[in-house]
């Protein structure tokens, strides 16, 4: 069974021509600033902010040619899923020591303050064969008491 080497959440993953990955800005907190007179953020709100997970699996000789699925799922603070689980299939190749998997989200939920959970697990066939420790992301709302100095309202 592939052995988890890295599982991380970040702003972006850049991969060069030789498949070497660079993780840009790991984070575990999101702060949403609200202007003084603005309404509260609705519970289903999202921020159009890209986020990536990066996983690297150490391949064992017996894994070569087998079919695996890595699943990532983001959960609201109350445990409800935000969107369907994202599944990435891979089949380790002979001669490769690691299998890298990136998953991209195009928006992050910000409507509910609290701890969001990024779950990740590995399946083979219909069985879960490994579950990673989750990544916890804290979302906070910060209501500003004054307008920012360079703020220009939209007319």
């Amino acid at each position: 069974m592939p052995k988890l080497y890295i599982f991380a959440l970040c702003d972006r993953v850049v991969t060069d021509k030789e498949d070497r990955a660079s993780l840009i800005t790991l984070f575990n907190q999101i702060t949403a600033q609200i202007l003084p007179a603005s309404p509260d953020i609705p519970p289903n709100a999202v921020a159009a902010k890209e986020w990536w997970t990066f996983s690297s699996w150490e391949i064992q000789p017996e894994d070569v040619g087998k079919d695996y699925r890595q699943i990532v799922q983001l959960l609201y603070p109350n445990g409800e899923p935000f969107g369907p689980p994202v599944s990435v299939s891979f089949s380790p190749l002979s001669g490769k020591t690691h299998q890298q998997v990136t998953v991209t989200g195009f928006a992050f939920p910000i409507g509910q303050e609290g701890q969001y959970t990024v779950k990740m697990w590995l399946e083979e066939g219909s069985s879960t064969i490994f579950e990673s420790a989750p990544i916890i992301v804290t979302v906070k709302h910060q209501r500003l008491t004054d307008l920012p100095p360079n703020f220009t309202p939209l007319i």
């Binding site: 702003d11 984070f27 702060t31 949403a32 289903n44 709100a45 921020a47 928006a107």
Partner: protein
């Protein structure tokens, strides 16, 4: 076969968006509502009303903003916050090796 609502971009309309069919997501009646208003105007009205699901229960995982984003309509999603920033509350200790010694990283 599924069709996409040209107003809210719900991707699973059972019928084409015409002939007085009604979108279960945004309630647009095609051939009636969109005879008077453009799809963009109807979308704006739906969003300003809270982008709520119209008929019955929404599909599992449904989120109106993700529906718009997934269809490429980023600009239609309201800016719910003035600014959204990420940060990390990690603590990292770094010990740099001297020449000819292996680099050592340690968590603080």
């Amino acid at each position: 076969m599924n069709y996409v609502c040209p107003v809210c971009r719900f991707p699973k309309l059972i019928y084409p968006a015409r002939d007085y069919h009604i979108c279960p997501c945004c309630s647009t009646e095609f051939g009636n509502d969109d005879a008077e208003f453009s799809h963009a105007q109807l979308r704006e009205a739906w969003i300003s009303g809270g982008a709520r699901w119209f008929f019955g229960n929404p599909p599992r995982y449904w989120n109106p903003w993700m529906q718009l984003i997934n269809s490429g309509l980023y600009e239609s999603v309201p800016k719910f916050a003035h600014a959204v920033t990420t940060s990390a509350n990690y603590t990292v200790g770094l010990k740099t090796s001297r020449l000819n010694e292996p680099l050592v990283l340690s968590a603080a």
